[in-house]
């Protein structure tokens, strides 16, 4: 089985966030946290990304966009929702235009809570995501039907609460 865990490439999508979490995501790449030492790369291109990092809630306008970006990613792929807005909708949940968290449109694998989520937590969330990524790859490589794994993923709703507090 191929170990794939060393190079998670991340695409960061900003939903209707207040930009607090976005600042923290970028902070991960700065010298203090240096996410690149785990091989994490922030790419802007869904075709090249393994992990979709969503900050902010989903509104009516960006819902199809998130769906499309998710579809453009190559299998296996993992979704990490960063910040409480991306997890549930947060303080904006009751707004007229907000549908809720990222899981309203695409299956989310890792939830990273916080307002804003801390860089450590984000990195931890990504690293958790890598584990799921590896599992999916193993399933894919062993020839399991992709559709069934997809359904399984949706039904089990494995909610990993990453990086609660260090």
């Amino acid at each position: 089985m191929y170990k794939i865990t060393r190079s998670p490439w991340v695409m960061h999508y900003d939903g209707s966030s207040c930009n607090g979490c976005d600042i923290e995501v970028l902070a991960c790449l700065t010298p203090v946290y240096d996410a690149e030492r785990f091989g994490i790369v922030n790419t802007g291109d869904p075709m090249q990304a393994d992990i979709l990092l969503i900050t902010g809630g989903i509104n009516t306008q960006n819902a199809p966009v998130v769906k499309q970006l998710y579809e453009q990613m190559s299998d296996p792929k993992v979704v990490v929702a960063v910040g409480v807005c991306a997890c549930t909708g947060g303080v904006f949940k009751e707004c007229y235009n907000i549908l809720g968290g990222a899981d309203q449109v695409i299956p989310v694998d890792v939830y990273v809570p916080g307002c804003a989520a801390r860089p450590q937590a984000i990195i931890d969330g990504i690293v958790k995501g890598i584990g799921i990524f590896q599992e999916r790859l193993n399933k894919m490589e062993s020839g399991e039907d992709e559709k069934s794994s997809q359904e399984e993923k949706d039904s089990s709703e494995e909610k990993e609460e990453a990086g609660k507090e260090e």
Binding site: D45, M47, V65, Q68, E71, Q72
Partner: protein
């Protein structure tokens, strides 16, 4: 028997054109005449080439010493040409242009009549002449076959133009006849006649539509080419008075070369004087080959229906200038004339490449690229070492085939698509797959591996470094970088996914398609057979004393085999990969547009939630590289070069005469 093939090839097209002119407006008869005539010429030229190879193994042959009747015919022809030009000049009130035709003709007739009648051959066949016959015969008649089909679509599409297709086809035939005569004649007087004949034919062809633009452009072409004719006649007369009469010179092309080279090598102090006629004739070749500052006539020639541009650009007209320069190459090699001619060629190569970038009209791109490639050939001929002449010959061959193919395709696509803008060719592969594939091959032939243009360019560069001509090397180095930009822009358009799939009615006719296939076939064969053609034909041609006096091969055969072998991979590998990758199980995804595609790749949802179409266009840098920006400065620079060399040589001549 074989000898009479040449007069046949010269006279037959003229005969056909007379028939065509007589058949008036009858479409069916005209088309039949044209098709039969083209096929006959095609077969005759190929058969003649083959027979010449088998019977004489392309030995140089001088034929027809006694040609009194033909001389009178030529004389009559010369007068007829003058009458036509003068009549049209007066009709369109361009009086001064008629002088350019009257004066040289009167002068040459005077010289011819006063000159002592001498025995000399009038037809001269060597390897260069033979390959030109093959080129003109095959490409030219394919163009006519194409033209018959093309004119049908053209007149359907352009209702405003009066339908005079038989006249048009007649002119094409006349053109071919003149070209055959031009490349085979050994008499300078005949040469001048055929030269003027091509000038006038091109003038009439360009003016075919009789629109104001066409008339203006045709007169521009006329005066520039006639100016070249004046220089040619001047060169011939100067030569005649320099060596004529007691010095044993006669109005023979071969004597011109031999006597001049004798002086250059034997009496270097008089080289300046001997080079003056060489310069004048080379100057004439520059006008014919549309070099700077005379490039504008070829651009203007675009107003005519496509077959005429095809004929002007590929096998005939512009190649006449190159042909003359190859003949003069041994004289120009290492001389001041050669360096100036090659400077103008190299400069044209660079400047025209730049201007081609700014064009989106396909025919204009092709025109600019013709000018630029001709510049390369002129530079090669001007340097005149065996290597560069080798490159020049191959450039000429490959360019003729690719350009002819490309022009025909642009014409065919224009008839169906009603546009010849490269931007409108976006996704042509999905609208007219066959034409797009041929166009792709044609463009590849112009600058990419595996086709011979690349090897020719390679050897040209090598030859120029060997000749220690640093300036030309710089021109080529920069020019070829620019060349790839405009071609690849175009190729990208062909294969891009269409903005919107629209149904295109393909009006391409059988004759046109036949011509495409033959062209593509010739290109591939020429490419694969390049080492053989080089070893068995071009090398011996260069080694023959008439052209170059060296026996060693310009480009070693083994190098060529290796290069061609490697380049053929370029053909095979993508093809193999194409089939092996066809069903590789890749998942198809939407193109990335920030996630706002409308479900397809040709549109997106804007911020107001409305669907918008996506339109992708190329860069053209018109503000920087437009023809209106660059043409005048380039003309000034090249004119300055011409004036300098003219003054220099003029000084020699005046000094020598005093």
């Amino acid at each position: 028997m074989l000898d009479y093939a040449v007069p046949f090839l010269i006279c037959f097209p003229f005969l056909i054109s007379v028939f065509l002119l007589l058949s008036g407006k009858n479409k069916a008869i005209g088309n039949a005449f044209a098709r039969i005539g083209a096929v006959v010429i095609l077969i005759t030229s190929v058969a003649f080439f083959a027979a010449q190879g088998i019977n004489r193994s392309f030995e140089t042959a001088s034929l027809f010493t006694d040609t009194e009747i033909a001389d009178y015919v030529i004389l009559g022809g010369e007068i007829l040409l003058v009458v036509v030009v003068v009549f049209l000049c007066f009709k369109y009130k361009k009086y001064w242009i008629s002088l350019l035709s009257v004066i040289p003709t009167v002068a040459i007739i005077y010289v011819e009549e006063t000159a002592a009648k001498e025995e000399m051959a009038h037809i001269f066949l060597d390897k260069l002449a033979m390959i030109m016959i093959l080129l003109v015969g095959v490409i030219g008649s394919l163009i006519i076959l194409y033209a018959v089909g093309y004119m049908e679509g053209y007149h359907e599409h352009h209702k405003e133009v009066q339908d005079r297709r038989n006249y048009f086809l007649a002119l094409l035939f006349m053109f071919m006849g003149a070209m055959f005569g031009f490349v085979t004649c050994a008499s300078l007087v005949w040469l001048i006649f055929f030269w003027e004949c091509t000038s006038v034919c091109s003038f009439l062809l360009i003016g075919y539509t009789r629109s104001d633009e066409a008339v203006n452009n045709s007169f521009r072409a006329l005066w520039m080419n006639l100016l070249g004719g004046v220089a040619l006649v001047g060169g011939v007369i100067f030569f005649y008075y320099l060596y004529g009469g007691s010095n044993g010179g006669s109005l023979s092309c071969r004597q011109f070369v031999t006597l001049t080279s004798q002086i250059i090598t034997g009496a270097p102090q008089y080289a300046g004087i001997a080079l003056f006629p060489v310069f004048l004739i080379a100057f004439a070749a520059l006008t014919k080959s549309a070099q700077m500052p005379f490039s504008t006539w070829l651009l203007g020639a675009m107003v005519a229906p496509t077959p005429s541009s095809t004929l002007l650009h590929s096998a005939t007209m512009v190649k006449a200038g190159i042909y003359i320069l190859i003949r003069l190459a041994p004289l120009m090699s290492g001389s001041i004339v050669g360096s100036f001619i090659s400077f103008i060629g190299g400069f044209t190569f660079l400047a025209a490449s730049f201007m081609a970038i700014s064009q989106s009209d396909a025919k204009k791109v092709l025109a600019m690229s013709t000018i630029s490639n001709l510049g390369l050939m002129v530079a090669c001929a001007g340097i005149g070492t065996p290597e560069t002449v080798w490159a020049c010959v191959f450039l000429m061959l490959f360019h003729a085939v690719s350009k002819s193919l490309l022009f025909q395709l642009v014409g065919a696509v224009e008839n169906s698509l009603h546009s010849r803008d490269v931007e409108d060719f976006h996704g042509l592969l999905y609208m007219m797959p066959k034409q797009a594939m041929f166009m792709f091959i044609g463009i590849t032939g112009m600058f990419l591996a595996p086709f011979g243009m690349l090897i020719s360019k390679w050897s040209a560069l090598k030859g120029m470094v060997d000749a220690k001509n640093a300036l030309i090397v710089l021109f080529i180095v920069f020019g070829s970088a620019v060349t790839s930009l405009y071609w690849s822009k175009w190729m990208g358009k062909l294969i891009a996914h269409p903005h919107k799939t629209k149904e295109v009615k393909d009006v391409t006719e059988g004759g046109e398609k036949f011509s495409f296939w033959i062209h593509a076939l010739i290109m591939v064969l020429l490419c694969a057979g390049l080492p053989a053609v080089s070893a068995y034909y071009v090398e011996p041609m260069l080694a023959s004393t008439d052209l170059m006096s060296v026996a060693e091969p310009a480009i070693s055969g083994s190098t060529l085999y290796i290069l061609v072998g490697i380049l053929m991979l370029v053909f095979i590998i993508p093809l193999v990969l194409y089939f092996s990758e066809k069903n590789n199980g890749s998942t198809k995804k939407l193109a990335y547009m920030g996630g706002i595609n409308t479900g397809k790749n040709d549109g997106f949802v804007d911020y107001m939630g409305e669907e918008k179409g996506l339109y992708i266009s190329n860069y053209y840098f018109e503000k920087m590289l437009g023809i209106d920006k660059l043409m005048v400065p380039s003309q000034i620079i090249s004119s300055a070069a011409l004036i300098i060399i003219f003054c220099l040589l003029g000084g020699f001549v005046i000094g020598g005469l005093l």
